[in-house]
């Protein structure tokens, strides 16, 4: 049908230009040779972008640190998100709207403003240290900002709503009589959770985990603003290679490696979503 082709043609053109072509160019530059010109590479089949990744453990470490930090972030998010999702799902409809708003409002206040708030909390002269010093509990300020703990707090704060929403949706679909029956038969709350709620919502929990894990693995801003200088997650290394060292082939090769590592989690997430 002509009308359909007319509708599809611009969408195809857009997607080929702004999604497919950039991916192809990324791959071409990952294989190119670095050059001192502008742009700083020469097209070739050299593998020069990948060579440092194999030779220098710095890059492999950056990928592994990113996966580890993303996994911890996603695990912490899940632990905080379960009681919140259960509480919201069980609330009366009017209260539920309020709780959902209380969940989403921090999310809508802007990513960087929330990072700014954490910097205010954790700095040497920040709110927490001020409180502890005012109470006479410490003499010198605790060094909290620019630590791995600070980075994790910032990341969990940024991604927590992503973990709550899929769990909440799954809990709404869960038949409440199942949990009531277990409780009536004498199961303790922890037993009800472990034997009824958790197994029934396991696919949603996995989806929530991946929904946090995938973006967290490439995170750049929070490690940069809150993490320790030595916490070289791959997103930060990629950024530095591109903007500071102007080594485009290495940056492109790192992007492809990150994608390669995330392909399995991404496919798994898409299968869970398609159910």
């Amino acid at each position: 049908m002509k009308a359909r082709a007319l509708l599809l043609a611009p969408a195809w053109a857009w997607l080929l230009l702004f999604v497919a072509a950039p991916a192809a160019i990324l791959a071409a530059i990952a294989l190119a040779e670095p050059d001192s010109g502008l742009p700083p590479f020469r097209l070739a089949l050299s593998g020069a972008g990948f060579a440092p990744l194999v030779e220098d453990s710095y890059y492999l470490d950056a990928l592994l640190v990113a996966l580890r930090v993303a996994a911890i972030t996603a695990g912490l998010c899940l632990a905080l998100a379960y009681p919140m999702a259960i509480g919201i799902a069980r609330a009366a409809p009017g209260r539920r709207v309020l709780l959902l708003a209380a969940l989403m409002l921090p999310f809508w206040t802007g990513f960087l403003l929330r990072v700014g708030a954490w910097i205010g909390l954790l700095r040497d002269e920040g709110w927490i240290n001020g409180l502890l010093r005012g109470a006479g509990l410490i003499e010198a300020p605790l060094a909290m900002l620019y630590t791995e703990g600070a980075m994790l707090a910032g990341m969990v704060h940024a991604y927590l709503p992503f973990a709550v929403l899929p769990l909440f949706a799954a809990l709404l679909r869960l038949d409440p009589t199942l949990e009531e029956a277990a409780a009536d038969l004498g199961a303790r709350p922890a037993t009800v959770f472990l034997t009824v709620t958790l197994p029934a919502t396991l696919p949603a929990a996995l989806a929530a985990f991946l929904l946090v894990f995938i973006p967290a693995a490439g995170e750049f801003v929070i490690p940069d603003l809150m993490g320790p200088p030595e916490a070289q997650m791959v997103g930060r290394v990629l950024w530095q290679e591109f903007f500071q060292n102007r080594d485009w082939p290495v940056a492109a090769a790192l992007a492809l490696c990150l994608l390669g590592l995330l392909i399995l989690p991404i496919r798994l997430f898409q299968r869970l979503e398609a159910r």
């Binding site: 009308a3 708003a101 708030a117 490439g218 801003v221 992007a255 995330l262 991404i266």
Partner: protein, 264 residues
């Protein structure tokens, strides 16, 4: 009810974790002290300082313009793509089309940003467009990202809806255009509105992709904030936080009031 109490505590902990930093940020926006962590008595001076900060105000206006443009483009593009995926059946290249429209949803931001920047550099070298990078390149990047979200929302809405409605309209003699205008469009209008808002907020909040594809002429609000935060928190950032939280809270409050389930 021990069960209820333990759950309430755990839920309260989660909400306290989410809210404590934000409430402090907002509260200290009203402090007179130059140091944003010290209480120096109530004052509105930092709101005045924020309004007088030309760099931040200009960046905010640019961000709003880019977000509105990107969201509108995203609705056109993502709406068409979502409709095609839900209603066109197995057209040629459907799997590739679906993968391409959905890719920005799952790609890490650094990868999307880097690859789009490389595209813009290559395009400029080849055909001279876009000349340099700035607001236009950020808008194009954000439209691509937003379209992915709009397509998902529209496709989901159409998957839930009965397709026989459109078929009935055409059986009764409506042209495809009339059937679209009178049946499909009203059906997907809420999804388009939600998608527009989603694309708008994504664009307003994005710092990573914008930093890659922007140039000196394209300093959006997140880019300006990011460079400010590198040096630490300033009272103007506190004031901006207060403005945003109170503004969003007001809108959410209104929405909740309007959507409040009626009793009886």
């Amino acid at each position: 009810m021990r069960r209820g109490r333990a759950l309430r505590w755990a839920m309260g902990l989660g909400f306290a974790f989410l809210w404590a930093p934000i409430l402090l940020l907002v509260a200290y926006a009203f402090s007179a002290d130059r140091i944003p962590y010290q209480w120096g008595g109530f004052s509105l001076r930092w709101f005045a300082a924020l309004a007088a900060n030309e760099r931040l105000v200009e960046a905010a206006l640019l961000s709003l313009r880019i977000a509105a443009g990107a969201a509108s483009l995203a609705v056109l593009l993502g709406g068409a793509a979502g409709w095609a995926l839900a209603r066109f059946g197995p057209f040629r290249g459907r799997a590739v089309f679906g993968a391409l429209i959905g890719a920005p949803l799952v790609l890490p931001e650094v990868v999307t940003g880097l690859s789009l920047l490389l595209l813009f550099v290559a395009l400029e070298a080849a055909i001279g467009w876009p000349a340099g990078r700035g607001a236009t390149t950020v808008l194009l990047a954000h439209a691509t990202l937003g379209a992915a979200f709009v397509a998902v929302v529209v496709q989901a809405r159409l998957a839930d809806a009965d397709r026989t409605l459109e078929e009935a309209a055409m059986d009764l003699g409506a042209t495809p255009w009339t059937a679209f205008r009178t049946v499909t469009l009203p059906l997907i209008a809420p999804a388009l509105a939600a998608g527009w808002l989603l694309a708008f907020t994504l664009s307003l909040d994005d710092v990573v992709i914008a930093s890659f594809v922007s140039g000196p002429a394209g300093t959006t609000l997140p880019i300006a904030l990011f460079s400010m935060l590198r040096l630490g928190l300033t009272p103007e950032v506190n004031a901006l936080g207060a403005v945003v939280v109170l503004g969003v809270g007001l809108m959410l409050g209104l929405a909740a009031l309007l959507l409040r389930p009626r009793r009886g």
